[in-house]
Symmetry: C2
Subunit: 271 residues, 2 copies
């Protein structure tokens, strides 16, 4: 039996999903949360669909052992590839980042031309294009992988000449398509917002899935009468698969708050 006090379980390949957790905390501060970052196997965006799906199931299995009331796949690659398979295999509501981002893009566009940037695996899956066209069959979607954006963010080179030239090289084609809306289809990309915005120009609206995902979570919990009403802030637990030091250092900057309760775990492929 699910109860309001049970935590929301969130997983990502690493630290990127903390942008989603941050929005959950902003909008639903009373919720208890358990976050898993699979830092021993990050990044997912360069891997095959089979491997991403296997990792998603292992992450899901671990979070289930924490008695969660809702599962958030806060990773665009995992959401793109394995959301349906995970949904079909579990008895809990599962929220990905694709549908909320697609909804926001369809709402935002004026000319029906939408760009999507993400990892190789996300773009190859066509998940955003399919989700956008399911909402608006007439929308034109232009998708593009930008593999160097994640390492640029990880290296902290989110501004300056290298970031600008890289953005310019990747985005010139998609800019020439006349899109007026661009989905940042990877949790790392919002950190490059300034550079991407400069490259695309002021008329292109950037969509950050993290914010939209938090709204989707609130709606679902509300519909299921599972919103936690407590006045006090919820508890925060973190799990990682590699050593916590770097995660804590970078993560506290991402979150803007302390990461106190963090444990290194080893994931298993056994059922």
């Amino acid at each position: 039996m699910r109860s309001k006090d049970m935590p929301i379980g969130i997983f990502d390949s690493g630290i990127g999903g903390l942008t989603v957790l941050k929005e959950i905390i902003n909008k639903l501060p009373a919720e208890n949360t358990v976050y898993l970052g699979d830092t021993a196997r990050v990044p997912y965006g360069i891997r095959s669909p089979e491997t991403v799906t296997r990792y998603s199931f292992e992450n899901t299995r671990f979070l289930f052992s924490k008695h969660i009331k809702l599962l958030v796949m806060a990773c665009n690659t995992a959401s793109s590839i394995s959301l349906d398979a995970v949904r079909q295999s579990v008895s809990l509501p599962v929220v990905g980042v694709i549908e909320p981002g697609a909804r926001a893009a369809v709402s935002a566009t004026r000319n029906g031309k939408i760009g999507v940037i993400g990892t190789d695996a996300t773009v190859r899956s066509n998940a955003y294009a399919n989700a956008i066209r399911a909402l608006d069959a007439s929308a034109e979607v232009f998708s593009l992988p930008c593999p160097l954006f994640v390492p640029l963010v990880e290296e902290g080179w989110t501004e300056g000449t290298v970031a600008e030239l890289t953005a310019g090289t990747y985005l010139s084609d998609i800019r020439d398509k006349g899109i007026d809306t661009l989905v940042l289809g990877c949790t790392h990309y919002p950190l490059l917002k300034a550079v991407i915005s400069k490259t695309m120009g002021p008329d292109v609206k950037l969509i950050d899935s993290a914010i939209e995902t938090a709204f989707a979570i609130r709606d679902i919990l509300s519909e299921l009468s599972l919103l936690r009403a407590d006045q006090a802030a919820g508890s925060r637990e973190f799990y990682v698969t590699d050593s916590p030091e770097k995660f804590v250092a970078v993560g506290e900057r991402f979150l803007g708050s302390r990461i106190d309760v963090i444990t290194k775990i080893e994931l298993s492929s056994e059922v």
Copy 2:
């Protein structure tokens, strides 16, 4: 009992170690080889020493099951961090890429000032600096992590403005130290040789560990009377932990020959 016909086992986090395999094939064409690329968990250079060591042992265990006569850790990160631990735990000769590279650098330098570039994990380990100073206590070693070089190579941006600016940003400090020798301490970096050489200038000698490692393997097999004398070319087997398609496509370019026998496996942490 080891025999000449047993294969040499080689592992790397992914495709980079194929530069080492290529040199082994060039110098020792009759040797049978088994190569393991841990593509489901690449890259190693961003992970903690504990996790790199765990992965190295899992890779070693798998190659042992193939009845190898010698183990090559064709990954600078794994060699830097876990060579000693693996050597102590197994009864076979184990060759890493650090010592051969260090030896070549000490031979090449005229002014005793040696630069080393590599992943975060390799540089933090100080393995190259220690190996160089063990050979020449008076050598001055300047080490520098270049985390974006691996994703640049993976993306195929090995020339052009972004590669040149990235190299310029990383290498300007180390260039100003007056080094005359630079160790390319990561198996991906030889693919950026042209850009690195242009940045460092014609007076700096670049050291490619792959070539030196193949010489070290020949010496050890010769000393142990384990060199295969056959006239025919040796057999080639490949194993990967993610799906083989991308590995084969990129790998055949690296190797300059076909990859016919390749199998996807799942590694286990169980003894």
